[in-house]
């Protein structure tokens, strides 16, 4: 049962995070960017849970945090998608490159 070491969890989470980061920074499609962000959040969740079990002074707090994160992520996904839909209605695109209104 306890044969899987902490480092395996952490490496998985790192991998997941990097994939998410890569997606968030490079993908053109806003939906994929959102999904990538979810991926990064999940990587964090994985870390939290792993530390909750194997960390120094392990306690239930990590799991509670991950629950919080999941809730926030759900809310964020809802808001993000809503914005996306609104944008799509206005611009007829979900291409992130064309969303540069920050410039002006």
């Amino acid at each position: 049962m306890s044969s899987i070491p902490l480092s395996a969890f952490l490496l998985t989470a790192l991998l997941l995070f990097c994939i998410g980061l890569y997606g968030a920074l490079t993908k053109r499609n806003a939906v994929i960017v959102l999904i990538s962000i979810e991926l990064m959040l999940n990587a964090v969740n994985l870390n939290l849970v792993a530390f909750a079990k194997y960390g120094v002074g392990a306690s239930i707090r990590g799991q509670v945090f991950s629950l919080f994160t999941i809730t926030v992520a759900a809310a964020e996904a809802a808001v993000g998608l809503a914005i996306l839909i609104a944008l799509y209605r206005n611009r007829a695109t979900v291409n992130v490159d064309e969303m540069n209104t920050l410039k002006k």
């Binding site: 980061l21 968030a24 920074l25 490079t26 960017v33 992130v96 490159d97 969303m99 540069n100 209104t101 920050l102 410039k103 002006k104």
Partner: protein, 612 residues
């Protein structure tokens, strides 16, 4: 004796009253001005007589201080300035009176009298100054009054140019005086005349420094008194109203240069070089201006050049150690030159013309003016027993006694030229056939002329070889160390002077008869008529030169400095634009940059912290 304070205050009051009630006063301004300056003249007479009785006095009050040096203002009365005070207030009073008639039809008559009051204030203040700083203050103030009055007809372009020229040319001289004051202050630690003279005589200042300071002061005098090479403003200043020419540009302000040299006489007499400079400049100016006056056509300009020449005479006298002679001539000149100007004003007032070749035969129409003018001409020409005769004689004697025979010859020659051009003027204007209709001036204009006429006749008897040297003895009671000369001249000197002036008059008579219809134009004549082309020379060299320098720096400023500044601003702008280009608005780019930044920082910490 306390009335001495009133002398400058009264004209100042006149100025202030007229300034603030100008619209209501209008023509009555003349009466106000005349009353106030008349009162000032009364005070000046009192001061003069009390100086005979009680001697000199000096009252001072603190003005402000530089550290421990307290600067003072005050009034001083000594023979020299008591005499000047009387001359200034008398001529001012008479000119005020005369102007009531002369300026009667001018819209801005009140302004005119206001300026006259201000001038009289400044001039009396100048004369009363016991220290150089105060003297300089009033010195500039009389300059500005002269500027205002020359530019009185401000709508005339010539008047505008003349006013500007008068101010700037005299300013050049004033700067010389200013520098001299600075140097004296740091040499002696004071602006007070008595302190300065004390240390000069005690030898606290090196001789070369004394010479330098004296010459700088003399530059100031040259500017004010229209001596060569700063004389060019004075003829142009004739653009002002004629009474102004009589008051400022003949009798008082232009004599301030001579007065300054007289005041600073102890300083000048300690430097042989300075004295020589004064004498040579004066002598040269005297003959130089006299030659120009020979061929001028404008009645006022002839008088202006004559003034320059006579002032040169006074300078010559002072430079040749003829202290009394210089002051004496200053006094008599004030009378007869003011008279001549007022007479010229009377003529101009009657015929509205200034070209003497367009006048003639006015003797019958303007009998009183003609008679008074004749007195003036005789006096200035040195006709025996008139005022000018005695003072001119005194100058010739001093110059002769001084031993610089070249200067002496120049002085004699100038006397001859003076007689010639004055009578050329007189004959062309008053003799011959009538050429135009004219009416004699009103009484208010004739009375001042009459008074000046009387003084031009009797004014010389204060210093004669026969009735005693009253003036010289009195001037010797000055509180300052002044050596008053008593030159004795050989008997042939006055005789030859008389003969020369008579010859001048005779020649003018023949000349005027022959040349009624204009003059021949030979090169010498043209050279003289164009005043040796000195104005043109200055225009080409100094005026143009200054402007060229100005343009040079302007373009330097516009292209080099402003160009550099714009380059700097452009650089800042370009940096800003580069910065804004990085801000593409792409969130993903921002994310990438932020993430790489984080990585770099973490790596740095790892490396520096030694975790690797």
């Amino acid at each position: 004796m306390d009335v001495v304070w009133l002398i400058p205050i009264l004209p100042l009051l006149s100025f202030l009253i007229i300034l603030f009630t100008r619209p209501n006063l209008y023509r009555k301004a003349g009466i106000v001005g005349t009353i106030f300056t008349g009162a000032a003249f009364g005070c000046a007479l009192l001061v003069l007589f009390s100086n005979f009785a009680e001697g000199n006095q000096l009252v001072e009050a603190n003005w402000f201080s530089i550290d421990s040096v307290v600067l003072t203002v005050g009034v001083e009365v000594n023979p020299l300035n008591a005499l000047m005070l009387v001359i200034v207030t008398l001529v001012s009073f008479l000119v005020h009176m005369y102007s009531i008639g002369y300026m009667a039809n001018d819209e801005r008559i009140a302004t005119f009298f206001g300026y006259l009051g201000l001038f009289t204030f400044a001039m009396t203040g100048l004369v009363l100054s016991p220290n150089l700083l105060q003297l300089y203050v009033f010195w500039e103030l009389v300059g500005v009054c002269s500027f205002l009055l020359v530019g009185f007809y401000f709508y005339k372009p010539e008047a505008k140019a003349a006013a500007k020229k008068a101010f700037i040319v005299t300013r050049i001289g004033d700067i010389g005086l200013l520098v001299a004051i600075f140097l004296l202050f740091w040499q002696t630690g004071s602006f007070e005349l008595d302190v300065i003279f004390e240390s000069v005589l005690a030898g606290d200042i090196t001789p070369s420094m004394v010479t330098l300071i004296a010459i700088l002061i003399f530059i100031g005098a040259v500017g004010k008194s229209g001596q060569f090479p700063l004389h060019t403003w004075l003829p142009d200043a004739m653009e002002g109203p004629t009474p102004v020419s009589a008051l400022i540009h003949a009798a008082t302000m232009v004599a301030a240069g001579v007065y300054l040299v007289a005041v600073m006489y102890p300083l000048f007499s300690s430097s042989e070089t300075a004295m020589t400079t004064v004498a040579i400049t004066g002598g040269f100016t005297a003959i130089f201006a006299a030659t120009i006056a020979l061929v001028q056509r404008d009645i006022k300009r002839i008088l202006a050049y004559s003034t320059i020449s006579q002032l040169g005479y006074m300078m010559l006298a002072l430079g040749a150690a003829g202290y009394t002679a210089g002051i004496f001539h200053l006094t008599t000149h004030a009378f007869f030159k003011a008279l001549l100007f007022l007479a010229a004003g009377s003529v101009i007032h009657a015929v509205h013309e200034q070209d003497i070749f367009k006048m003639g035969g006015l003797r019958k129409q303007l009998p009183i003016t003609a008679a008074l003018c004749l007195i003036g001409c005789l006096s200035i020409s040195g006709f025996p027993l008139l005022a000018g005769f005695f003072s001119k004689d005194e100058i010739l004697a001093s110059t002769y006694a001084d031993g610089r025979y070249v200067l002496f010859t120049m002085a004699l020659l100038t006397a001859f030229l003076t007689a010639f051009y004055m009578f050329r003027l007189y004959f062309l204007v008053f003799a011959g056939n009538e050429s135009s209709k004219a009416k004699e001036s009103s009484r208010i204009m004739l009375i001042p002329m009459f008074i000046l006429g009387v003084l031009s006749v009797v004014g010389g008897y204060i210093q004669t070889a026969w009735f005693g040297t009253f003036l010289g003895d009195w001037l010797e009671t000055s509180p300052y160390p002044i050596t008053v000369d008593h030159p004795t001249a050989p008997i042939w000197l006055p005789i030859s002077a008389i003969l020369l002036s008579l010859a001048g008059i005779g020649l003018a008579w023949m000349y005027a008869k022959k040349l009624r219809y204009g003059e021949r134009l030979n090169p010498v004549h043209r050279l003289l008529f164009h005043k040796y082309y000195i104005d043109e020379f200055y225009r080409v060299t100094i005026v143009k030169g200054t402007r060229v320098i100005g343009y040079f720096w302007m373009y330097f400023d516009r292209f080099i400095i402003e160009g550099g500044a714009q380059a700097l601003i452009g650089l800042v702008k370009r940096m800003a634009r580069a910065g804004s280009d990085i801000q593409s608005g792409q969130v993903q780019t921002y994310g990438t940059v932020a993430f790489s930044g984080l990585v770099v920082v973490l790596l740095l910490i790892a490396v520096i912290g030694g975790y690797f």
